[in-house]
Symmetry: D2
Subunit: 136 residues, 4 copies
């Protein structure tokens, strides 16, 4: 399942919105199997109580990674329909990587699996997202 | 299932972290059935492409609302274990309300249902969260 | 959101397949808000170890109830896309009721919430299902 | 993550309940990474309308496969807490294989990923299950 879009075509869309710029996310890698997004360390995203990254930030970038995995194969808007996140363990402070793989490209709904890992390579959260891929 | 904590006890925890202050969330209402959190309008959270609020922001505040529904009954940290979000329809720009109801208070895991509504009262997303409520 | 189909129209579809006949499910009630399906007690569905009903049977009838909630409003096949089940507590041996409510009727995907209760009225499991409702 | 239990120890538990005997499921393979369960073809499980296997049967065996993946590593009852199924495509009539991999072994909750494939090797459904693994 080759990506339809190249890095050069995906990057401006990924970093084009102010909210994504605020997050600081960058396209780390794209290949035939998956797409990886980097979330640089930002102290704001960590809870003061325990130094762990906020679950909402993980959910946000998991959503984005899944979206772009599907988008890179279809080159059309693929609004998230349903998103499930499982939080595995607290992550170390530092950059995080989000790797998304397309599980199904469907005429109605497409599915992507997303894994979030911290700098030590430990999986800290996994997600599964359904994205609307209706051909207009 | 009465809340264990009062508004006065919950508010400082809800607004105590820099990330929650950044979001601008406020405790709107708490009663025996549910807790409601308000997310004031912030242009940053809307995508430039279509003027719709970013799904990650919805996921983030859905997570927070569910967390505080369970927290208000147990008065202990209740880390999110699993979160499912279904996006129902785009919302209008404006303040959003997130109402969370506890479905189950368990010795291992507790469950909350969360509904996000826009200013017109339309449901724009629903969530179901599992929170670790193991008594130490 | 009124049901399109009457009890007389739904019942033959619900009990028309051999698998549904094997389960013994019956249409208990249908009204403008919801549809309720009864699963009569069957010793086979209970695990010998602990006398609790098998989670797979709960998942099966939760799926069916959600399907028929959406089907009754659209009168077209609505294959299940995604199903989430949360098991709340073990149920008492006896008939079970599964009440399904449509949360969203969409042009691509529709959503139903399902609650399974035992004879004592206790909720034993909840489900949320996404059903393909693409108009052909 | 080596399995704690051998094939000889798992098989009698898997096939010990009347409901599992009714399904006809058998332990196909167990290795350090995963456990695979076979569901032999049974006409009863297929819907008369379209010849497709009933989604409830898929959910049932996905649940069982995930349960036994976690059980084989912990050797204690691990009741299902939460189960999510995504239906990918209709399967061909025939035996089905369900392969479950443990994603996380936790002190409170463990997670397994399950893939259901038909005889042609096509993935027809995927599941993610949370199982209670509280040490008593």
């Amino acid at each position: 399942m080759t990506a339809l879009l190249s890095r050069e075509e995906i990057e401006p869309v990924l970093t084009g919105s102010r909210f994504h710029q605020f997050l600081g996310i960058r396209l780390e890698e794209i290949n035939d199997q998956s797409i990886t997004i980097r979330l640089p360390y930002n102290e704001l995203f960590y809870t003061s109580a325990d130094g762990y990254i906020h679950g909402g930030i993980l959910a946000t970038v998991i959503d984005i990674a899944g979206y772009f995995a599907v988008f890179s194969r279809l080159n059309q808007p693929v609004p998230t329909v349903d998103l499930k996140i499982d939080y595995l363990r607290p992550g170390r402070a530092g950059d995080l990587l989000f790797t998304a793989t397309v599980v199904k490209l469907g005429r109605t709904v497409s599915i992507a699996d997303i894994v979030a890992t911290d700098v030590s390579g430990k999986q800290i959260a996994i997600g599964r997202g359904l994205f609307s891929s209706k051909q207009e």
